[in-house]
Subunit: 475 residues, 2 copies
């Protein structure tokens, strides 16, 4: 049979079954945007003729990584809000107040490049002005499952004292909801299904119960999941208790939000009991290890969530938090932070980390029929990594196969040489083929400088810890 691309001679990790599904002398046949076959090189070489043959000797061939939670629109302020308390209010908002749609889109493109260069092929992007940002994905050729981040917060929110109750502005909520519906109506399914859209309420503390209910009804109508921050920080819990007299999980439970439609992001402040309630409801969880570690110094309850029977996965969150968007970073941090949390090195292993960035992420996002593993009939999202990089040395297969531990604990991202998304080669020899990378960085850098200049007075006024470090000559 004739196919478009035949990858041969690789270590193929399918992520099928309960482990990683390793085929040591593996091959993958791709026809159009679909995986035609996965198997041993001997078999596929015999059964398929291809336009293009990729020799994957000494390469790892695996499903592209899925970043289940990323805000690419604020990567333009990476590195300005580290090592500080009141991260959101003193670090992020003074910048965001001055950020234009153009700033956001330009920064987003560099962020997507960063992800692709580290093996991410599916971006579950969750941000403001997603109707603009989504065009980056269309252009660069990455798979995206996007949501407009809907809230009712007015811009003046950045002037509130820490601890003051947020004011809501319903017309702002309706405007953002309209953009989310614009996505659902006009972008969902674009590019032969490479672009899909879901609903994205920002959090129970950032909008009225009325708007939350409205989005829940819309989720039924559109058959969409709700991608939402839940118990993401003590700031949120404080707002919820002040406004409703109850914590986030109890509030969501009472109002009928805990079910299969909910993707609960972070759960940083969820108690073990609350975590179990969410897991048992059928809702899923996204854990952002690097981000919550660096912003809050905390390790959310992913293991407890899994132990309660829930499905969970990983996301890289926003660049000005984590502050990189690299799923290799997330896999290693998720494993080590959980080992440390339980003071037990065996508690979160490399295979769990890798599953959480591939097939489990696909499950959480509701796209496991299309991506997350290599299987005939699924979309062809495949990355090839150089096993001859020193970080993968040595490659052993017996009596212990060490490729997965070295992928999770040693690889850094630069080992990804080729990225095939939806059957198309989007990166080859570490060059992204679909856009001009230098131009994208130059444009975004200019936008970032303009933004920092416009935001100057607000930044100086915020008196953040990082500003103090700057003044003391520490940066």
């Amino acid at each position: 049979m004739k196919v478009d691309i035949l990858i041969v001679n690789g270590f193929v990790v399918t992520m099928e079954g309960k482990g990683v599904g390793m085929i040591e002398d593996g091959a993958v046949a791709i026809k159009g945007n679909i995986i035609e076959a996965v198997g041993r090189t001997e078999e596929l070489s015999r059964d398929y003729k291809a336009e293009r043959i990729i020799d994957a000797k000494n390469k790892l061939v695996m499903p592209g990584l899925i970043d289940a939670h990323i805000h690419t629109g604020i990567s333009i302020i990476r590195g300005v809000a580290q090592d500080m308390t009141n991260w959101m209010q003193k670090g992020i908002w003074p910048f965001m107040k001055h950020m234009t749609r153009e700033d956001s889109v330009k920064g987003s493109m560099v962020n997507i490049m960063e992800g692709i260069r580290a093996g991410t092929t599916t971006f579950c992007d969750y941000d403001g002005y997603m109707t603009d940002i989504v065009h980056n994905y269309i252009k660069i050729g990455a798979r995206a499952r996007v949501a407009e981040m809907v809230n009712e917060l007015p811009p003046e929110i950045s002037d509130l004292e820490v601890g003051e109750l947020y004011t809501f502005n319903p017309s702002i909520g309706q405007e953002k909801l309209a953009r989310n519906l614009d996505l659902m109506d006009n972008y969902h399914g674009l590019e032969d299904g490479r672009i899909t859209c879901i609903l994205g309420p920002q959090g129970p503390d950032m909008m009225s119960l009325e708007l939350l209910h409205e989005m829940k009804s819309l989720a039924e109508i559109y058959d969409s999941k709700l991608h939402m921050h839940v118990a993401q920080g003590d700031r949120e819990i404080d707002q919820m208790v002040k406004r409703y007299g109850k914590r986030s999980v109890a509030f969501l439970e009472e109002n009928g939000f805990l079910n299969e439609r909910l993707i609960a992001v972070h759960l940083t402040e969820a108690t073990d009991e609350e975590t179990e309630i969410v897991a048992k409801s059928g809702a899923n969880m996204i854990y952002c290890a690097g981000s919550i570690g660096i912003i809050d110094g905390l390790v959310p309850p992913m293991l407890t969530f899994l132990e309660s029977g829930g499905t969970a996965c990983l996301g890289s969150d926003q660049a000005p938090g984590n502050n990189c968007n690299n799923m290799m970073n997330e896999m290693k941090f998720a494993a080590i932070l959980n080992k440390v949390k339980r003071a037990n090195p065996a508690v979160f292993h490399a295979t769990l980390a890798l599953r959480s960035a591939t097939i489990e992420a696909a499950r959480v996002m509701g796209i496991d029929h299309e991506v997350g593993s290599l299987r005939a009939g699924k979309k062809a999202d495949i990355i090839l990594l150089n096993l001859q990089d020193p970080t993968f040395f040595p490659v052993l297969t017996s009596p212990i196969r060490n490729i997965i531990p070295n992928l999770v604990y040693s690889a850094r991202g630069h080992e990804v040489e080729t990225s095939i998304i939806d059957g198309k080669i989007v990166m080859e020899d570490r060059k992204i083929t679909t856009i001009d990378e230098n131009k994208a960085i130059e444009e975004a850098q200019q936008a970032a400088e303009g933004l920092a200049e416009r935001a100057k007075d607000d930044i100086l006024h915020a008196e953040s810890d990082i500003l103090t470090m700057m003044r003391e000559g520490m940066l």
Copy 2:
């Protein structure tokens, strides 16, 4: 004045003063292996003429990173001992029993390449057969401060049950000590001082008190520090209590080891009180964040050590633990694990992380008169990083300069383009100029396969957690 290399137009981070010593339009002049001048581009361009001018526009120019604790000789078994309990006894020893000097040296070379490619210029290597391994440093051109790892453990140690008291073999101790003295006598100061040697007792649990005393006396004679694991795990404490009826720190204090000559590595199991005793004694500490996080699920007391007035720094430890040897990884993990330990995001900042991998590491190792910062008169160990990589985006200078947070929290290592060590360009455009990298990897890979084959029976006999995972098809 005429110099050999003049680096201009860079963001120069000198690591002088209490912060990072940033010069925004900075330049460095190098003559031979010495830094002739550091300053603004305008000044140095006027004052110096150079054989070779390096335009560092959009580059970060900084001191090479110092890896204060690395065992390159066991990198040949990277990835075979992850996610398990009894890491040393069930994971490492079954392999080490069969490892030859040649295996060790070949693996070491790939490990050194990995470090150089991620910005390390000084390796404080601590391993067996260092008289062989040291030739790798001579050949590749890296700076090294090496110690033979001296113990009295016979090979049969790998057959002991977990918890049994180690047997000591004094003739093995004397053989290893002889190698350490061979280093001190015949290698210290080689290559114009690029290679230096210190004494390396492996730990208070791994040798007799007599041999420890002998090495202490030799440290006086040679005016050397003692690079030693202290309180590195519950395994060590268990041995000490069984053998001497006391814990490591009390034992070392009573026997006169706690002073400026001691470099105490890990202190994983040291209580706050013990940590304070070591810090106040003038001894220094090395913290291996990734390694201890992954092997033990623990966060050693570096912050307590610093708060007690001690000097501490970072090391990457061994590849089959951490399991990468990349100081970017160490900086990020050190910061985040300590934030998590204290549940406070402000407690370990990017500048502290960077200092701990440069100037503070030089202090701990007793080489701060030569390296660790960029200052006229110091050795020319300098790395250049590409600030136009997406991981560094955006580069802002006002009102908050974000280069250091992005270096510590976002950069991965591949941003290092050029490495100058002792005035010579050892890596340029990410190609190591001094050795054949592909050949080194091929030779080491062959050696690793042979080792795994020879060690097979012992590995199968050890019944480790990772072997169980392998059998269950999880790897």
